[in-house]
């Protein structure tokens, strides 16, 4: 949280980092792999795009080591849209993060979707001007990431599956742990901090606020407008949709497929706005074509789970 002052300008404050996350609330952040998809996402009403070479479903299919995307493609996408552009670095790979900051991406996702570079340490996110988002499965993990300087938390879910079950599990866990802390007596917070393996100061902050100290978004398996609305009702403030859009309509090709994907993208944006209105959701969900085929998370062997990466 360094503060430098020059010509009356105070830059690099925590407020700007969390402030951008606040601006993204009530929106949808979409994974895109090229300029064409980025423009479709922007036109459909995405509040930001995540620029990456392969969506999680392809990373899962291809196997091997998944790394930061080519700066060339990130720059091309930055040039093509006016909305914020995010990009992913590997867990603990602070040099990838430095490169992404030099590229002036608007947010860095230190992501379990890529192959971790460090199995103990995450990136020291306070050392950066650019804000970070990190995944979490529970309150302790979320607060450890906040302690390291994350300006936004998202549920991990199980990326690239199109199965929302893990995102639901993680959001319910975080929200229920927040309620427990909120109802605890002050003198019980020491034990909560110990059990959550999280800094006491941040546990106190959760009790005071009744929510995470930073915006709480959802990701990992959202594939339909109803999935997005479900996550919003469970407490998400915005949804990340990864493979769910540009892996949908697998039965179509070329421009027909893109057209249908654009319709799905727009429908998911609308479903976040109207998540409390089932009649509107019914209208929004009508005739969207085939969602991504997906993989049942329960059929995945443990070694293929992405959510267990990060500590």
């Amino acid at each position: 949280m360094s503060i430098g002052s020059k010509n009356g300008v105070i830059a690099k404050t925590w407020r700007e980092k969390v402030g951008l996350a606040e601006m993204l609330k009530g929106g949808v952040i979409m994974d895109v792999v090229n300029v064409e998809q980025a423009r479709i996402a922007e036109d459909a009403g995405a509040v930001a795009v995540m620029a990456l070479e392969r969506v999680p479903a392809d990373i899962r299919r291809d196997g091997g080591v998944a790394r930061m995307s080519d700066p060339q493609m990130i720059s091309e996408i930055k040039a093509a849209v006016k909305i914020p552009v995010m990009a992913k670095c590997r867990i603990g790979h602070f040099v990838e993060a430095e490169i992404l900051e030099a590229l002036e991406v608007d947010f860095i996702d230190e992501s379990e979707v890529l192959t971790p570079a460090d199995e103990e340490n995450h990136v020291d996110k306070h050392a950066f001007t650019v804000p970070f988002v990190c995944g979490a499965r529970n309150l302790g993990e979320a607060l450890r990431r906040c302690a390291e300087g994350a300006a936004m938390i998202r549920t991990k879910g199980e990326a690239g599956t199109g199965d929302v079950v893990e995102a639901v599990r993680h959001m319910r866990t975080i929200m229920s742990q927040i309620r427990t802390v909120q109802n605890a007596r002050e003198d019980e917070l020491y034990v909560h901090a110990k059990e959550l393996q999280a800094p006491l100061e941040l546990v106190r902050e959760v009790k005071r606020l009744g929510k995470l100290p930073v915006p709480n978004f959802s990701a990992g398996g959202i594939a339909t407008p109803a999935d997005a609305a479900l996550m919003m009702k469970l407490g998400a403030e915005t949804c990340f949709v990864g493979s769910g859009i540009f892996k949908s309509s697998p039965n179509l090709d070329g421009s027909e497929r893109l057209k249908e994907q654009a319709r799905r993208a727009r429908a998911i944006v609308e479903s976040v706005l109207f998540h409390k209105d089932p009649a509107k959701l019914a209208e929004i969900s009508r005739g969207l074509g085939a969602p991504m085929v997906g993989i049942n998370v329960s059929s995945l062997p443990e070694g293929e789970l992405l959510a267990t990466r990060g500590w």
């Binding site: 402030g19 601006m23 002036e104």
Partner: protein, 189 residues
């Protein structure tokens, strides 16, 4: 007091309005707009909110109320949507102010900043938070410039409409909200 709650940091504005002792309401539909007498359009993404306003009849509804003199204040994205013209873009907008805005005028998020600014409607300087902020690059005779940061126009008002590039809702300073709650455009001219 209504806060347009389609997307963006509307909760922060609602908190600010409530801490001034006023009633704050979320506004998403024309029916909800009917129940408020002032409107704040928050920060967020202008392309997202413009599209959703078009799709759900909010552009016409807000324009109609503006025509009846309802005070409207746009912060950051809100100011973009109020503009008649947006540089290099034909995205949907309300077009209630004779201004041309440049989106994202300072560049990417790493160039977001805070700085003290003089606002003509306040007696003391304000600590302004700029996040991927727009600026006003052209303005017509109906527009009064109320704030500049260095050479850039970052605050304007015209008739019953107010626009700021920065985000008073992200600080604890409530003077801008208090001013807007008390603003009577018919008397201040």
């Amino acid at each position: 007091m209504g806060v347009l709650a389609i997307q963006g940091d509307f909760e922060r504005h609602l908190e600010a309005v409530r801490s001034c002792g006023a009633e704050g309401r979320e506004v998403r539909t024309p029916q909800e707009l009917d129940r408020v007498d002032r409107l704040i359009i928050p920060g967020g993404e202008s392309s997202t909110v413009g599209m959703l306003m078009m799709r759900f009849g909010m552009m016409e509804a807000v324009r109609a109320r503006a025509g009846q003199g309802m005070p409207i204040w746009g912060t950051c994205m809100g100011m973009i949507l109020l503009a008649e013209s947006i540089e290099g873009s034909d995205q949907p907008r309300l077009g209630l102010m004779e201004i041309t805005v440049r989106r994202n005028a300072f560049g990417a998020q790493v160039h977001s900043f805070e700085s003290a600014v003089e606002v003509s409607i306040l007696s003391e300087p304000l600590n302004a938070v700029f996040i991927r902020a727009p600026i006003v690059v052209q303005w017509g005779p109906s527009v009064e410039v109320i704030c500049r940061w260095q050479d850039h126009v970052v605050g304007v008002r015209s008739g019953s409409v107010l626009g700021t590039s920065f985000h008073p809702e992200l600080t604890d300073d409530r003077r801008m909200h208090e001013w807007f709650l008390a603003w009577d455009p018919s008397s201040s001219g």
